[in-house]
């Protein structure tokens, strides 16, 4: 308990530096020419063509897609977790847990394929897919975090005269935040990967490098897309861990 707490409030400087390693590496890779020269041998000696758009722009689009979807995930997921964990909603909570559990097993491509006929191509079906996938860890961790709040603490909160809203804002949410944050991290990192598939629907981003690379049989291009997506995922994970409150 003490150890986890100390790690949470006062992370050693070395850990902070390490957390900045991945973002730094990502930035280096975004310097024009760095990756394309690195992977030139895999593209028949020619620096792979990234389709006219600089890599940093594709990465930025990707990042916007992921973060935008994550924002929607939070706006839906946190209230949902709160709603189903209120007293008298045990059945609804079990149902939600079952659905989120199932959600993990449905392949991404299936959701995207099902969304296209109704939403068309491009951004809408991609965002829908990202939101649905992103919701799974946020809702399940949100529920787990809220359920794990010590019953004695909750009883005391009621006993000192907090309203249900005050209990939620002052006690339950702060105490479940570490678990919730872990869910947010998982959700964000997963969605960096899921968003690459969105490129198949024309949502743009780093996935378009992979798709173009595959269709042109240009391994270098595929690798550039994959390396950047990987570094972006690791960077977001590291940065989110840095801002996350420590467990106690």
């Amino acid at each position: 308990m003490t150890v986890a707490r100390a790690a949470g409030t006062r992370r050693p400087a070395s850990a902070r530096l390490l957390a900045l390693l991945w973002p730094a590496l990502l930035l280096i890779c975004l310097i024009p020419g760095v990756l394309s020269n690195l992977f030139a041998p895999l593209s028949a000696g020619i620096a792979p063509d990234t389709g006219g758009r600089p890599l940093w722009q594709l990465t930025l689009i990707h990042l916007q897609l992921v973060l935008g979807a994550e924002l929607i995930v939070l706006l839906i997921g946190v209230p949902l977790a709160v709603f189903v964990t209120r007293p008298g909603r045990a059945a609804l909570m079990r149902l939600t847990e079952t659905i989120t559990g199932l959600g993990q097993t449905v392949p991404t491509i299936a959701i995207l394929a099902l969304a296209v006929p109704t939403l068309g191509l491009g951004l809408p079906p991609t965002v829908l897919g990202l939101v649905l996938y992103g919701l799974v860890p946020v809702v399940s961790n949100g529920i787990a975090g809220l359920l794990a709040v010590d019953k004695g603490v909750l009883d005391a909160a009621r006993g000192v005269g907090m309203t249900s809203r005050q209990r939620l804002m002052r006690v339950e949410l702060p105490l479940s935040l570490p678990v919730l944050m872990a869910g947010i991290r998982t959700s964000t990192v997963y969605n960096v990967g899921t968003a690459t598939i969105g490129a198949a629907l024309g949502a743009g981003g780093l996935g378009s490098l992979i798709i173009n690379g595959l269709s042109q049989q240009n391994t270098g291009l595929v690798l550039i897309g994959a390396v950047l997506a990987g570094l972006l995922a690791l960077s977001l994970d590291a940065l989110l861990e840095l801002v996350a409150p420590g467990g106690r």
Partner: protein
């Protein structure tokens, strides 16, 4: 003053339809400024009774008056902010500092922050925690005894006239429990709160209670001073529950100072006035003396404890 009138809490089993009374036709008055112990075996309805007083549980019958007012006339949250509440699990907010924990109720009442913090520090002092050392600690850095002192300080923060305590010393080791009980009695002598103290520990009830309400099966078995219960048990249950050694236990709850009388103390073995009478008795037997000199906190003789006084008490 808290008055329970024909208080009842029944639970209906959803599958069998069976009715179970956790508390049944309970009428009691908790006198102002006194500690009333709610004593009884596990499952007899002590916690249920206590939690009905601050509406954490709603009664199914009867009523509760607080200073003559029906407690149902207020919003439960408003009622609870006027009633201190201390539980066995302590329930400090782990993400808040000690001083923030203590300031919870005044904060909820919207009192000015600076004043609230100042008051919280005074309360820490009152419960025996040096504010400079403890104010900014977090609950996980405290021992069980220290944490429960903070729990008591939090309950007292808004200066409520009434304090409800559910086995507040139950989770502590015997040494910490003894110290905290002592500190608690000392605080109560100064503050004179109306306290309802739930316990299943007979010694604790006899030691701390000005009055004892003994419950069994959700009903009142006997209500009176510790002396009444020990000397005049009204039923076989009361006698058996208190046990054969009830008198000795009660002596353990009295201090030498309480039984000391004026008299000539020259040449007598000396004991501290805070020593309990059972221990004083063993000093008498060990020293083969039928009287002891009782000293006050400054080492001055405050009286004489005689064998005869013990006989009268026991």
């Amino acid at each position: 003053m808290i008055e329970l009138q024909h208080l009842e809490k029944k639970y209906v089993n959803e599958t069998s339809g069976e009715i179970f009374y956790a508390v049944k036709d309970l009428s009691l008055v908790f006198p102002d400024g006194k500690i009333t112990a709610l004593l009884g075996p596990s499952g007899c309805g002590k916690t249920t009774t206590l939690r009905m007083i601050n509406r954490l549980i709603e009664p199914t019958g009867g009523q509760i008056l607080l200073d003559g007012q029906d407690i149902m006339a207020q919003r439960p949250e408003d009622l609870r902010r006027q009633i201190g509440y201390v539980i066995q699990q302590i329930g400090l907010f782990p993400h808040l500092s000690v001083v923030q924990n203590v300031a919870t109720v005044p904060d909820l009442l919207g009192r000015p922050r600076a004043q609230t913090r100042e008051r919280a520090r005074e309360l820490l002092e009152l419960v025996g925690l040096e504010p400079g050392q403890f104010a900014d600690k977090h609950p996980h850095e405290l021992s069980g005894g220290q944490a429960q002192r903070v729990g008591v300080a939090r309950a007292l923060a808004a200066d409520p006239p009434v304090l409800l305590m559910d086995e507040p010393f139950g989770a502590l080791d015997p040494l910490a429990r003894d110290k905290l009980q002592e500190a608690f009695l000392d605080i109560q002598r100064r503050l004179q709160k109306t306290i309802v103290l739930v316990t299943h520990d007979i010694d604790e009830a006899l030691r701390l209670g000005d009055r004892v309400a003994l419950l069994t099966g959700g009903e009142l078995a006997q209500f009176g001073t510790p002396n009444d219960l020990v000397r005049h048990p009204e039923s076989e249950f009361v006698r058996q529950f208190l046990g054969e050694d009830a008198l000795l236990r009660q002596l353990a709850g009295l201090t030498a100072a309480q039984l000391a009388q004026p008299g000539d103390a020259t040449g007598l073995p000396q004991i501290s006035g805070t020593l309990n009478v059972r221990s004083a008795l063993s000093v008498m037997l060990g020293q083969r003396s039928d009287a002891l000199a009782v000293l006050d906190a400054h080492g001055q003789v405050q009286g004489v404890l005689t064998w005869q006084a013990l006989e009268e008490a026991g």
